[in-house]
């Protein structure tokens, strides 16, 4: 890909055509109807994941990164959340129009999810062994004993020491890191093809975070799963992701493979984000900041939602919304994307 193709039409995924990816989110719109008005949380998000790759969805709070995942999983709180458009195709079938029973089957077996807060995601009144074995009994028709055996195997796989005894413990008896492992084990129980990890390490200490990220990467490799990693941490993303989608105000503003994104970010928001990061290996003086605040989703700025905070903003930015355009192997939603890609 030496020359840069410029395509002014909005793109679906990075390679355009629909219906050929394992999971495909297409032009998704979600809004929250609150008493203060309608918050447009997701405004046309499209991305896709294939087996064996890790897509990182990067964004700050309110960017819509987690809501997208909740919509994929079908666990969006309705009300206040409503899907107002778009499609989510898993193996070519639209999850949003699927009958409820069928969709329930996809959950867990097709796509499963790891949450940020393992303590509240696990049921405190049952042992972890029971909770995992229950999955096998309900969904695989296994006997109690078989379910238990599989549960121990799973806990072993996520490297919980003395799994055979710890299986009788309750969630609160595990440390934060171990609890996150239990949840990962549970999400793997039905051999999903796609794992969504929503801020899986945000609540953990750095040394434990590193262990969990290693584990997730290893499991993804072994099982050849597709993984969607939702995070705000640019460091974690750089460590494990293959491709990155950067979200701002419910839209994807930039999409690229991990190396090109860090080497040459092509959206002013991504550039500013990278600039504002304190670095472990560099001692800087003043950090470059992004002025202002993340947008209020009840009143998203006209044109490009980032324009009030953008250094490069011109008149056109508040008047016209830039589409996410494909530029070679990457995409950027900025009126000046071509200049940015062409720089240096």
């Amino acid at each position: 890909m030496t020359d840069i193709k410029v395509n002014t039409a909005p793109v679906l995924g990075t390679d355009g055509k629909a219906g050929q990816h394992l999971l495909e989110v297409e032009n998704l719109h979600v809004e929250f109807r609150t008493r203060d008005g309608v918050a447009k949380v997701i405004n046309g998000v499209s991305y896709h994941v294939d087996a064996g790759e890790t897509l990182a969805v990067l964004g700050e709070s309110g960017s819509g990164k987690s809501v997208t995942a909740q919509t994929i999983m079908g666990i969006l709180d309705t009300p206040p959340g409503f899907v107002t458009g778009g499609a989510i195709r898993f193996r070519g079938k639209d999850l949003l129009t699927m009958p409820k029973d069928e969709r329930r089957l996809v959950r867990g077996e097709g796509i499963s999810m790891v949450f940020q807060d393992a303590l509240s995601a696990l049921n405190p009144v049952f042992t972890v062994g029971f909770q995992i074995a229950e999955l096998f009994r309900k969904r695989r028709g296994m006997s109690r004993a078989d379910g238990r055996k599989r549960a121990i195997e799973l806990l072993d796989q996520v490297k919980i020491p003395a799994a055979a005894t710890r299986i009788n413990d309750y969630p609160h008896q595990f440390s934060g890191g171990m609890r996150q492992r239990v949840m990962i084990a549970m999400s793997l129980a039905l051999d999903p093809e796609i794992l969504i990890a929503d801020e899986p390490t945000t609540a953990l200490d750095v040394t434990v975070q590193a262990q969990i990220m290693d584990l997730l990467a290893e499991i993804r490799r072994e099982r050849n799963m597709g993984m969607i990693l939702i995070t705000h941490d640019l460091g974690v993303v750089a460590d494990v992701a293959d491709r990155i989608a950067v979200m701002y105000a419910g839209r994807i503003v930039e999409q690229a493979d991990v190396h090109s994104l860090y080497a040459k970010p092509c959206h002013p928001y991504t550039m500013a984000l990278l600039d504002s990061l304190p670095r472990l290996d560099l001692k800087g003086q003043e950090l470059n900041t992004i002025k202002g605040l993340p947008p209020n989703l009840l009143r998203i700025p006209s044109g490009c939602a980032f324009h009030p905070r953008c250094r490069m903003a011109r008149d056109i930015c508040s008047a016209e919304r830039p589409a996410l355009i494909q530029l070679g192997d990457r995409a950027s939603a900025c009126h000046f994307a071509e200049e940015l890609v062409g720089r240096e």
Binding site: R35, D36, T289, K291, G292, L293, P294, P295, N296, L298, R299, P301, S302, G303, H307, P308, R309, A313, D315, S318, A319
Partner: protein, 329 residues
């Protein structure tokens, strides 16, 4: 805020200066009226049918209690034996100044007037008993929650003694001791006695709620922040802990008010609570005992008012709790 960049935008997030130059100031993301938690709750409440209905009903009951003349021009104590056990006159229902809408009791007293005047006793007993409970229970709750340690343990055990007493039994014992069934206490004396009974038996529950609320509030960061500034305990309690710990007690108080109106009626029915010449729904229901078959309306009307009043306060309490609990939003 008149920065050229946003001149064209309808953006709620005005641009901010880089923090080092504070001249151009930040603007809150939400442009709206100043709203505290209580006014927020008020906003929430106004759009709840449950709240609106119960609030209207309670307003009517309170008006009844304060100005019964507005609703009935008849003296509820006047007896006219000619009218004894006369049936309700449904034709008079929507005409003001008429009497006999709900019929007459055995003494020939106007039941409609008595039901209206009876609201006062119920509301007065309920409101003062709850206020007393809030003051006493709230005080001990704050003390044990804030000080903790031995004070807390002692107060908790002391309160448990009262909680251990079954409510009706406790009230029967207290009231029959200080105002025996044969005695004829003045209206003021018996009403205060009933209120005091409710407070004596009720304060530990209120203390518990307040204590739990204070315990969770005093661990919040802003309380530590005030301590770090060198604030004295008085300021911490009254500025920081109390205003933020009140909500659960207000909710329980509202619901309890309904329960106390019911309890007052129960005790009056049993003959140990309020008694004539005081007019109250409980007394009226008690009077109806011997006339259930020939004149069921003697019981039906006060009972209906009682049920609606109790229900209104319970519903109000529910609505207030939903509005004050941000987790349910």
């Amino acid at each position: 805020m008149s920065s050229p960049e946003v001149a064209t935008a309808t953006s709620p997030t005005e641009p901010t200066a880089v923090p080092a130059t504070p001249a151009a100031a930040e603007v809150a993301p939400r442009k709206e009226k100043n709203r505290g938690l209580w006014s927020d709750a008020w906003y929430e409440l106004r759009r709840k049918p449950l709240f609106v209905i119960s609030a209207i009903l309670i307003t009517i009951f309170v008006l009844m209690a304060a100005f019964p003349q507005l609703f009935s021009s008849v003296d509820p104590t006047v007896q006219d034996l000619h009218k004894s056990l006369e049936k309700p006159d449904f034709g008079a229902w929507f005409k003001f100044g008429e009497q006999g809408q709900f019929g007459y009791n055995v003494l020939g007293q106007d039941i409609y007037a008595r039901v209206i005047y009876g609201a006062r006793a119920s509301i007065v007993v309920g409101v003062f008993a709850v206020l007393g409970n809030m003051l006493l229970g709230g005080f001990f709750g704050i003390v044990s929650g804030y000080l903790g340690g031995w004070t807390d343990t002692l107060l908790a055990r002391f309160g448990d003694i009262f909680l251990g007493l079954p409510f009706v039994l406790g009230a029967l014992v207290i009231l029959s001791t200080f105002a025996s069934v044969q005695s004829d206490p003045s209206a003021f004396r018996i009403t205060s006695l009933v209120i005091l009974t409710f407070i004596v038996l009720g304060w530990p529950s209120f203390a518990r709620i307040m204590r739990a609320s204070v315990l969770s509030t005093k661990q919040l960061d802003y309380v530590h922040a005030a301590q770090a500034l060198g604030a004295r305990p008085g300021r911490i309690v009254f500025r920081h802990v109390l205003p933020n710990a009140m909500a659960p007690m207000v909710v329980v108080g509202t619901i309890t008010l309904g329960a106390y109106i019911g309890a007052e009626a129960t005790l009056s029915f049993l003959g140990v609570g309020l008694r004539p010449p005081v007019v109250s729904w409980g007394i009226m229901i008690g009077e109806s005992r011997n006339f259930m078959e020939p004149a069921p309306y003697i019981m039906a009307f006060p009972a209906a008012f009682l049920v609606v009043a109790v229900l209104s306060f319970v519903m109000l309490g529910d609505a207030v709790r939903d509005a004050l609990d941000p987790k349910l939003r």
